[in-house]
């Protein structure tokens, strides 16, 4: 789960990480008031759950409240990578002398949490990693020992920090590490971590992703979920306990199992089309869940054909078939559908669908080819 910059920074502040004074506005007028209260030049920043807002014009400097309001007016409502900006953060503009990077991530290969620091803050850290990897210093954290003082010092000396901010940097490093660990984060970063003109450190931007599997023990973070800022179909899917990601193609896919769902997307592309979504109905899905999944797929107007790929194990082929038919009864759609059902009760399921005049397929290859053809109007 992603949280907004302002939420991440407020969470960081609870761990005593210094952040700029600021406030969140949903209207230009609110933005004006916040800027007036701050009484200094401010930065107006789009709050969207996606990167690249800087390049999209979602971050603007303002020197006075009126200007802040007009910046907010320009940013609110803006579309950034398909998401609409509904909130802006108005932050006191920092007196930036130097920009650092500090982040905590999961190192899957070593099964360890890693803290990374860089003197190259304020830019995309992945670009730094690609172009000047020597500018990134890493500390691998032993789970028994946690982040140690000496590691924070090694990061500080490693990125060439001024002696007079090393202690403050160490405190922030420990705080960020605690924020990561105590909230089951999968990413926590401060970029940039700014050294101000008067020699202080300030977390000017913050980002935090939470491990979905850990959310059950962090109701405070679950409560931060910004329903309005998320894709609507993904929201419906989550409510139905379906794993769904919207894509740009035209073949809707419904599959049981994440790996098989990806393989199905891939084969759609292999045979000349593009998948409209990733959708995993999970193991042992019942008819109602299948119906809801189909409704979600068909909400996307770009979908020109639907491909069902069900490998029965725990999931029963006939159950899935019933769900499909149930959903179709109420949906009144003319999108062509291709069903491939293998495994447990596959024969029964296939028969049910064939009786309802749906296109069926034996192999995945066959199913993909038929779906692509159907989308082109060459079948059905």
């Amino acid at each position: 789960m992603k949280i907004h910059e302002y939420q991440a920074k407020r969470l960081f502040a609870k761990y005593d990480i210094p952040i700029p004074e600021g406030g969140v506005a949903e209207t230009p007028e609110e933005a004006r008031k916040i800027a007036a209260r701050l009484g200094v030049p401010v930065v107006v920043k789009a709050q969207v759950l996606v990167g690249g807002r800087g390049k999209a014009g979602g971050i603007r400097l303002s020197s006075n409240p009126d200007d802040a309001a007009s910046c907010a007016a320009k940013i609110l409502g803006m579309e950034i990578k398909g998401l609409t900006v509904k909130k802006v953060l108005i932050d006191e503009a920092a007196d930036i002398q130097d920009e650092l990077y500090l982040g905590v991530v999961l190192d899957r290969a070593n099964r360890r949490v890693v803290m990374m620091g860089s003197s190259e803050g304020g830019v995309d850290i992945e670009e730094v990693a690609a172009s000047t990897p020597e500018k990134i210093v890493r500390a691998t954290i032993d789970p028994l020992l946690g982040l140690r003082d000496f590691q924070a010092r090694e990061l500080a000396y490693g990125i060439g920090l001024d002696k007079n901010v090393i202690r403050a940097f160490g405190v922030i490093a420990h705080s960020l590490y605690r924020a990561y660990m105590e909230n089951d984060a999968s990413l926590a970063e401060i970029n940039p971590l700014v050294v101000t003109g008067d020699g202080k450190l300030l977390a000017v931007d913050g980002k935090m992703n939470i491990d979905d599997s850990g959310l059950f023990r962090h109701l405070n973070i679950e409560a931060m979920r910004d329903i309005g800022a998320e894709d609507e179909s993904e929201r419906h899917a989550r409510a139905a306990d379906l794993s769904y990601v919207e894509l740009d193609g035209e073949i809707g896919c419904m599959v049981n199992g994440a790996g098989l769902a990806m393989a199905t997307m891939d084969i759609v592309k292999l045979y000349g089309s593009e998948p409209a979504n990733f959708l995993d109905i999970g193991g042992g899905a019942q008819a109602e869940k299948v119906a809801e999944a189909l409704r979600i797929i068909l909400r996307d107007p770009r979908v020109k054909a639907v491909l069902f790929n069900i490998f029965g194990g725990i999931t029963r082929g006939d159950e899935v078939a019933c769900g499909i038919l149930e959903a179709l009864e109420e949906l009144d759609t003319d999108v062509p559908m291709v069903a491939r059902i293998v495994g447990t009760r596959a024969e029964e399921g296939r028969q049910l669908l064939a009786d309802a005049e749906m296109i069926t397929a034996g192999s995945l290859r066959d199913a993909a080819q038929k779906a692509v053809a159907a989308a082109r109007g060459e079948l059905g």
Binding site: V50, G51, V105, L106, R108, A109, R111, R112, V113, I125, E126, A129, A130, D142, P143, L144, M181, D184, S186, L187, D211, D212, S213, G214, F216, R217, S243, V245, L247, G249, V255, N256, G257, A258, G259, L260, A261, M262, A263, M265, D266, I267, V268, K269, L270, E274, F278, D280, G283, F311, G312, G313, I314, V342, G343, T344, S363, L364, R365, A368
Partner: protein, 289 residues
């Protein structure tokens, strides 16, 4: 021969009285797995599918000599279940449970690094040695004994591949689902090593997916240490960056985890990569011809 599980496996089921635990216990017993015990705290004294249920793993191991355990308990109790089995030196622990926090698994796997214990999973379908022993949820109906070892991060995609092989009359030595979580127990490399050492296994199928760098490291390992022919498949060529594709581990992030890099890594070391699951069977057939 085979790897990890066979006729000598004496299986303990943790969470045996739960809905999933009980269902799959019956499936495993039906397949012929020697399920010797179950554990559910507070439910000691019952029986499920002929297996006695105990309150603790300590008792279960003492009384039945179980030498493998499969875990079906809910995510928030699963780390503890793994550690309980490890504390009593159960040498093979298979955790089916999905949704265990990654930070919990860091602690669990760090602890296991110092023990002579194999953990398969979590968030995995388990493993099966056709005709001998099924531990987990891989459908027994799709497998048949034979020469191909399969290791996979996926569930149903694995069944798909197994089925494609079985349909062509190519059986399997052992099929191992190592799971789709970012932090897990056995990795590709360790399973590859076992298959390399297993006389029954003649070819190996490796099924990867986007996220992490396990496939790249497997490719390096294959070049260095694996003499048997390997065919690979990597799911997620069409997956976008930054979005989790179902499995907690299936996400392209930080410029890492893309299918194209993984495929390139395999091809660079002479591992043939199938374009779709059924093609794996084509490639294995070619190699065996």
């Amino acid at each position: 021969m085979s790897i990890l599980v066979d006729e000598s496996t004496r299986l303990l089921v943790q969470g045996i009285t739960g809905r999933e635990g009980e269902f799959h216990t019956r499936q495993m017993v039906e397949y012929g797995t020697n399920v010797v015990a179950g554990v559910t705290p507070g439910r000691g004294g019952r029986e499920v599918a002929g297996a006695p249920v105990f309150d603790t793993v300590a008792e279960a191991v003492d009384e039945t000599g179980a030498n493998a355990s499969v875990i079906f308990v809910p995510a928030r109790f699963a780390p503890d279940a793994i550690l309980e089995a490890a504390a009593h030196n159960v040498p093979l622990i298979v955790c089916i449970t999905e949704g265990i926090p990654a930070l919990d698994m860091i602690d669990v796997t760090a602890f296991l690094e110092t023990q002579a214990i194999h953990l398969v999973g979590p968030n995995c379908p388990g493993l099966i040695t056709p005709g001998e022993c099924k531990v987990g949820i891989i459908p027994g109906s799709v497998v048949q004994p034979g020469p191909v070892g399969i290791v996979s991060r996926s569930g149903t995609l694995t069944y798909e591949v197994i089925w494609a092989l079985t349909e062509r009359g190519i059986g399997q030595s052992t099929c191992v689902g190592i799971g789709g979580d970012p932090v897990n127990g056995l990795r590709f490399i360790q399973v590859l090593e076992m298959f390399e050492d297993d006389p029954q296994t003649e070819q190996i199928v490796l099924i990867g997916e986007i996220g992490g760098t396990a496939e790249e490291r497997a490719a390096d390992y294959i070049q260095e240490y694996v003499s048997k022919r390997v065919v690979a498949f990597v799911a997620g060529r069409t997956a976008p960056s930054g979005k989790r594709m179902g499995h907690a581990g299936a996400i392209i992030s930080g410029g890492e985890g893309r299918a194209e890099d993984k495929i390139a890594a395999f091809e660079a070391v002479g591992v043939r990569v199938a374009e779709h699951p059924e093609q794996i069977a084509d490639l294995i057939e070619e190699i065996r011809a």
